[in-house]
């Protein structure tokens, strides 16, 4: 789950992390009392807002409305701006960076910080960044803050505020099941206050059930991806024309790769997972058909999944949807012969290997067979 800056800052504030004052608006006319002078900031789930002209200053109510009018409806990185956030403009002395993410190798939380904030952290040399793992079972100990302070070499009053924010951000990281809490820039103002200039928050999708309050927030999904998500189907729309459906994430990725090697382009990533419930399979196929593929490539390698029940689901879906999209099916696993017969009966193109299936899918997508 990704969060718009404004929503992330609302959550930051709940944990006591200082954020600038601001108001949100989805229409210029509804802006009544912005904290002037202000910055008008496009609210989208992608980075690069500033460069795209989505963050601009305003000094009066009229100007704020005029700027908001220009930013609302803008397209930034493929996303239409539906909201702007009008935020008090800060007198910036300097900009820091602070984030929590995970270190997969250490199996611990990772605290990163640098006094050179405001830029992409990836662009900085490694030795300029403070990186320290936090063992989640124990939590951060005082030495962590001592070494953070030493690395950032900040005046005492500012350092204390940074440590206080780092503590609270860790609390948020844990309690909200976050995979990323990033404050960039973490602003030090001319009157020596430390405030979160931006707020990036990503929460683990698998922990959604522990945070029902975020269930209805807009995500960067296409309408079809959203529909699939609500049905619990792992589905991603891609820019090709062949609908790929397989069971298991790795196999689905591999099927897309093989298709590409054979000159085709995948239009969907649809992971059926471990299901062989015909109803679920039919549901997945309905989503797939709505993506309007020129051909469908089905690749199933059964383990606990039974091949014939998957085939029954495919049959049901195609019948209900009255679809005449050519389907190339490669099915291996328990009852695969039965499955092949069911699929042949409804006019599918059977294939023995992924390579064959991919070649055939490319061919039938161009109208050949």
């Amino acid at each position: 789950m990704k969060f718009l800056e404004q929503k992330a800052k609302e959550i930051f504030a709940r944990y006591g992390i200082p954020v600038p004052r601001g108001v949100v608006a989805s229409r210029a006319e509804e802006i009544a009392d912005p904290p002037l002078p202000c910055m008008v900031k496009a609210q989208v789930l992608v980075g690069g807002r500033g460069k795209a002209g989505g963050i601009r200053p305003a000094n009066s109510l009229e100007e704020a409305r005029a700027v908001a009018r220009q930013i609302l409806g803008m397209n930034i990185g493929g996303y239409t701006v539906k909201q702007v956030y009008l935020e008090e403009r800060l007198d910036v002395e300097n900009e820091l960076y602070l984030s929590y993410s995970i270190d997969r190798t250490a199996r611990e939380a990772l605290l990163m910080s640098t006094p050179m904030g405001g830029v992409e952290i990836e662009a900085l040399p490694r030795e300029k960044i403070f990186m320290e793992c936090v063992p989640v079972l124990i939590g951060p100990q005082p030495y962590l803050w001592r070494s953070l302070l030493k690395k950032l070499s900040l005046p005492k009053d500012i350092g204390e505020q940074v440590v206080d924010i780092a503590r609270k951000a860790y609390d948020l990281f844990r309690k909200e099941d976050a995979e990323l809490v990033e404050i960039n820039p973490l602003i030090v103002t001319k009157n020596r206050r430390v405030i979160a200039g931006d707020a990036k928050l990503v929460i683990d999708d698998n922990a959604e059930y522990r945070h029902p309050e975020y269930a209805n927030l807009d995500q960067d999904r296409t309408p079809l991806e959203q529909e699939a998500h609500e049905k619990g189907i792992a589905f991603i729309q891609l820019d090709g024309d062949i609908g790929v459906i397989a069971n298991g994430a790795g196999l689905t990725m591999a099927t897309l790769d093989v298709l590409n090697l054979k000159g085709g382009r995948g239009g969907t990533f649809l992971d059926l997972g471990g299901t062989d419930d015909p109803g679920k399979v039919a549901e997945a196929f309905e989503i797939l058909l709505k993506a309007k593929p020129a051909a469908i490539l089905l690749n199933i390698f059964g383990g606990i999944t039974k091949a014939d029940t998957v085939a029954v689901g495919v049959k049901q879906a195609l019948e209900v949807m009255h679809a005449n999209v050519p389907v190339v099916a490669r099915i291996k696993g328990v009852n695969e012969d039965k499955a092949k017969q069911i699929l042949r009966d409804i006019g599918m193109y059977p294939a023995e290997t992924i390579e064959q299936a991919a070649e055939l899918a490319v061919k039938v997508s161009h109208g050949g067979a």
Binding site: I102, R104, T105, R107, E108, A109, E120, E122, P135, V136, L137, R174, D177, E179, D204, D205, N206, A207, Y209, R210, A234, I236, L238, A246, N247, G248, A249, G250, L251, T252, M253, A254, L256, D257, V258, L259, N260, L261, G266, F269, D271, G273, F301, G302, G303, I304, K332, G333, V334, T353, I354, E355
Partner: protein, 260 residues
């Protein structure tokens, strides 16, 4: 698992103690199974919300090896139970994995039995069904497997690629190693560096997700290209630099094995 030759001595489901499934007694708690049946390994299928509880219970009951099949466990739970299990020197495989199998000996997992043949190829994989595909290709080409470890598709896993490689390097019944990676994280890059330094047995690899778009989570929680990191190209390059040949097609793993 029973058909594979695994000695399944007990099942545990709270509230179902006293029942029998396929002749195997069911207990209410792990420590009963350990006391009564001397269970020393555990396979966890419980729903994601209760998986942490199941792993900690198994560790506390004295289980030494735990395979967690369950998918969609919040990784903050894994950040707790993984280091805890390690602190007690308990080996965890997974979560979000198909388990592990040693053909001719035992299986703790959900992989289909018929794809395996006893042999000397050790298989390490982040995936489930893609592993079946590749193991099947290895077996059909006339090779067989010593052990196959599905390490799991989550970001926080109990036994990582490097640790599995170290086990296979030490294992006398393994002569060749197959690594099945995918986009996301740096497990393959770390593995490549480890192979260059510490692995003398021939290694062949496959990496899934060459055509995956950045920023999209490809089904597995761990399979995502973030900030330009975790791409298939980077992983393939790292393997090649370490002298590991990388198959373009999954089944090509078998022919590359034949050439080693």
């Amino acid at each position: 698992m029973l058909d594979f030759g695994t000695k399944v001595v007990a099942g545990v489901t709270p509230g179902k103690g006293g029942q029998k499934v396929e002749g195997v007694p069911v207990f209410d708690a792990v420590d009963e199974a350990v006391r009564r049946k001397r269970a020393n390994a555990s396979i966890v299928f419980v729903p994601a919300a209760f998986a942490k509880d199941a792993v900690i219970e198994a560790v506390e009951a004295g289980i030494r090896l735990i395979a967690v099949i369950t998918e969609r466990i919040p990784f903050h739970d894994a950040l707790e139970f993984q280091p805890y299990a390690r602190s007690k020197a308990v080996t965890v495989i997974g979560p979000n994995c198909p388990g592990l199998a040693s053909p001719g000996q035992a299986k703790m997992g959900i992989m289909p039995n018929h794809i395996f043949r006893p042999g000397d190829v050790g298989v390490i994989s982040r995936s489930g069904t893609l592993t079946y595909e590749i193991v099947n290709a290895i077996s059909e080409a006339g090779f067989g497997e010593s052990t196959c470890i599905g390490i799991g598709g989550d970001p926080i896993i109990g036994t990582n690629m490097v640790e599995a490689l170290a086990l296979f390097q030490r294992d006398r019944s393994t002569k060749k190693i197959v690594v099945v990676g995918e986009i996301g994280g740096t497990a393959e890059e770390d593995a490549a560096a480890f192979i260059a330094k510490n692995v003398t047995k021939p290694v062949v690899a496959y990496v899934a997700g060459r055509t995956a778009p950045p920023g999209k989570r490809m089904g597995h929680a761990g399979a995502i290209i973030q900030g330009g990191k975790g791409t298939a190209e980077s992983k393939v390059r790292a393997f090649n630099d370490a002298g590991v040949r990388v198959a373009q097609y999954p089944v090509e793993v078998a022919s590359l094995l034949a050439a080693t």
